[in-house]
């Protein structure tokens, strides 16, 4: 039901306007007078460092937060969005960075959740599975998706689940779709497929608000880019007027000449860690992985999603069971069968899933910093030396420039990048000899990335050894000494970073892909 007449022109101009939006939380002004204008049928990128206010702005749009000030105008009409249900009814859908489908239910049930087509039999309403399947099939066809409506979501890849979520958004007649870091767990091929879907959505007049930290992607897919910093809007520009350097300098408010810090580490010849024939006890996981890690070296681990990189490296930290293989530390065979043993032998592991296996959301920043290191603060009376704990927590917060109201704040109130810094600091506190970092900069802004790279570089030059699993090619090429590439659970090759290229790594990554 569109209005006629004068409003039409206005409608044509913006599908969505958020005008002069402000939002404060206790101790933080998260948004200050932010205006966002999205044209119909365009991809509008929203960029900014972690904590810049992108997520808060989107949560306001989706009815998860109420506005302190400002208004939301949808196709020319002011609307009040009090709940996510209301947002959906108004045609606003959001696809979160971490997807939450119901794994044990089918694709169609997930899509029509809570509004399944019904059929009356003898006055009692039953779910009409037939018309549900037909509607889902039609939807998939329209979007050129190859997903069977009856498949259990548990059996879908991340990329397929995301496509399903997009289909769900379309099924709500969404006019605005917000996508938060949609490509963070997709392979290159899957990304281009996603972009194809996005383009077809655009052609249907749907506007996409696209949140991402990946410059190359933004420049490829976005029509306009709005950049935010510290809760302010810096500005909106057509994507074709922007370059990676321009975006970065506007995001951080200063010129960044290098994405990676200078490297000063000099890997020694002696190996600190030798892995021989590491094989999982699950046949579909990794097998026969062998490599060495030298003192002061940063070893990258590359490969496609599903290459079992995380699994193989988690095995070094006692998080996965092994059926074979040897791990040698300093030339002697070591038992690293539990995280406790691995930690005791000087290993640290920063996991990929920040929320699932990293943070303790309901506990303080200080607790989150110190939890892996508590044994160090036990005094002779078996009590904890809290003065020293508080001091170390404060120092960690300063050292990594964690933005938090206080060390007593709950970690869940921090932005993703700051949570990641806390987790990094947690492991630095135990002063490990070998750090395993699984996607350490995923979902983190450029500034925080640079800081994490700097710390890695500094640690390596102090003689610490680092294993970094990464799906980001520039990061692998920019930060490592050697790169180990896995393919389908097997070691595809180890290359010297200086002598390799993206093409070489991709070739290795697909070596065993059937």
């Amino acid at each position: 039901m569109r209005r006629e007449g004068v409003f039409v022109e206005k409608n044509d101009k913006y599908a969505l306007e958020m005008r002069n939006v402000s939002k404060a939380f206790p101790g933080v002004q998260a948004l200050r007078d932010v205006t966002l204008q999205v044209r119909p049928g365009t991809v509008h990128a929203l960029m900014g460092e972690n904590g810049a206010g992108k997520s808060t702005l989107m949560k306001c749009l989706f009815g998860l937060y109420s506005l302190d000030e400002g208004e939301v105008i949808l196709e020319g009409e002011p609307v009040s969005i009090s709940s996510s249900r209301k947002a959906l009814d108004l045609g606003i859908s959001m696809i979160h960075q971490e997807l939450h489908p119901i794994p044990e239910r089918s694709v169609m049930e997930n899509i029509w959740l809570g509004r399944a087509p019904l059929r009356k039999i003898g006055g009692v309403r039953f779910i009409d599975r037939k018309s549900m399947e037909a509607a889902t099939g039609k939807l998939m066809k329209e979007l050129e998706l190859d997903i069977n409506p009856r498949t259990l979501v548990r059996n879908l890849s991340v990329s397929k689940i995301q496509s399903m979520e997009l289909a769900k958004a379309v099924s709500y007649n969404a006019r605005i779709i917000v996508m938060d870091e949609p490509t963070s767990s997709l392979t290159g091929h899957e990304v281009s497929h996603l972009f194809k879907i996005i383009r077809s959505l655009k052609a249907r007049g749907i506007s996409i608000i696209y949140i991402s930290h990946k410059m190359e992607e933004i420049l490829e897919i976005a029509d306009e880019v709005t950049i935010m910093r510290d809760g302010h809007k810096v500005g909106t520009w057509p994507a074709k007027e922007l370059t990676t350097d321009l975006i970065i300098s506007r995001m951080v408010g200063r010129e960044i000449t290098n994405r990676f810090p200078p490297r000063r580490n000099a890997p020694a010849e002696e190996p600190v860690l030798e892995v021989r024939g590491l094989t999982s006890s699950f046949p579909k996981s990794f097998r026969d992985v062998s490599f060495t890690l030298r003192r002061g070296e940063i070893l990258g681990v590359g490969g496609l999603v599903g290459a079992q990189r995380t699994e193989a490296m988690e095995a070094l930290f006692g998080l996965r069971s092994l059926s074979g293989g040897k791990i040698l530390l300093g030339g002697k065979e070591a038992d690293l069968s539990t995280p406790i043993k691995a930690k005791r032998r000087g290993l640290a592991f920063l996991t990929e899933e920040r929320r699932a296996t990293g943070i303790f959301p309901v506990l303080s920043v200080e607790f989150n910093l110190l939890v892996a290191h508590l044994g160090n603060y036990v005094s002779c009376m078996r009590l904890l030396e809290q003065k020293r704990m508080r001091r170390d927590a404060r120092e960690s917060i300063e050292r990594l420039a964690v933005k938090t109201p206080s060390s007593r704040s709950l970690i869940r109130d921090l932005s993703g990048g700051n949570q990641q810094k806390v987790l990094f600091a947690r492991w630095l506190l135990i002063n490990p000899e070998i750090l395993i970092l699984d996607e350490p900069t995923r979902g983190i802004d450029v500034g925080a990335k640079y800081e994490i790279y700097s710390i890695m570089s500094e640690l390596a030059s102090q003689g610490k050894s680092i294993i970094m699993i990464s799906s980001e090619m520039p990061e692998l090429l920019g930060m490592t000494d050697r790169i180990l590439v896995m393919s389908q659970g097997r070691l595809a090759g180890i290359v010297e970073t200086k002598e390799t290229s993206e093409e070489d790594i991709m070739r290795l990554a697909t070596k065993y892909v059937a």
Partner: protein
Amino acid sequence: MESKKTVLGSSVHFLSQNAIFVVLVVLVLLIAVVDPRFLSFAILRDVLMQSSTRAIMALGVAFILITGGVDLSSGRMVGFAAVIAASMLQIPEYARRFYPDLPHLPVFLPIILAVAACMLFGMLNGLIVAKLQVPPFITTLGTMVVVYGINSIYFDMPPNNSQPIGGLRPDFTALGSGRLMNIPVIILIALAVAVIVWILFNKTQLGMNMYAIGGNRDAAIVSGVNVVLTIVILYAIAGALYGVAGVLEAARTGGATNNYGNMYELDAIAACVVGGVSTTGGVGTVPGVLAGVLIFGVINYGLTFIGVNPYWQLIVKGLIIVAAVSFDIRKYIAKK
């Protein structure tokens, strides 16, 4: 922005952060309005005495709730400890002794035995939960029934044949009804336990590990917390506290039957939850639990005191559980 904060605003914030204590004070005042005699020393002392064993028990349950578990066996363990201690601490002249020929034992021996028995069952709970990964609800449901069974068999042994155990020695009942400088010993014991538990919660690695396991078990494993050992120790400590509560319950009432402690587990969980312990784990404080226990103590004693029908008390209790938690949980729900 900060300067705009009004006195009203900050006091609302204070109230919402300390809701439990406010509820407790309001409750006491409400009862005092109806009958001002409630605010006398003797009456408040009685409320505290009645709450003492409940407090010790609830503190035990708090260990388990904070790890994200639940303990249904606590009530039956209280009964078990009460019967064990009472059965060995009767006066020699008493006609129906549990052990007719038992020599005079030092008072601490049966007490230690009773506490150790409960600690053992607690440890068993912990092992089943941590090692076999049986959900705590099921594990402790099983233990609850088993402990009651064992207690009943013991209680039914000839010559006792399920007769209530009475005639307890005065050196034992002194723990329950004795005074030290006009303060009941039982209150002092409960206070001492609360202080020890507070230290465990706040000042020890064990306490930190407890919060870590409840806060995010998987993250605790990755962080190198010894989850299995920690859980076993925590359940054992909880068991020991149920034992202490049971012993004191026998001493306070001067007797014991196998039905002692029946349904206490639900009161203990309710007190914890009203006191701000999160049922999903990771959150909970000693002052909160104590306030929760006192709220129920005041309701039990106070409403009887002002002549409210006991069945109405049940309704009030139930409403308070739900109301307090729905209020408290606002602190943790994402800010809107």
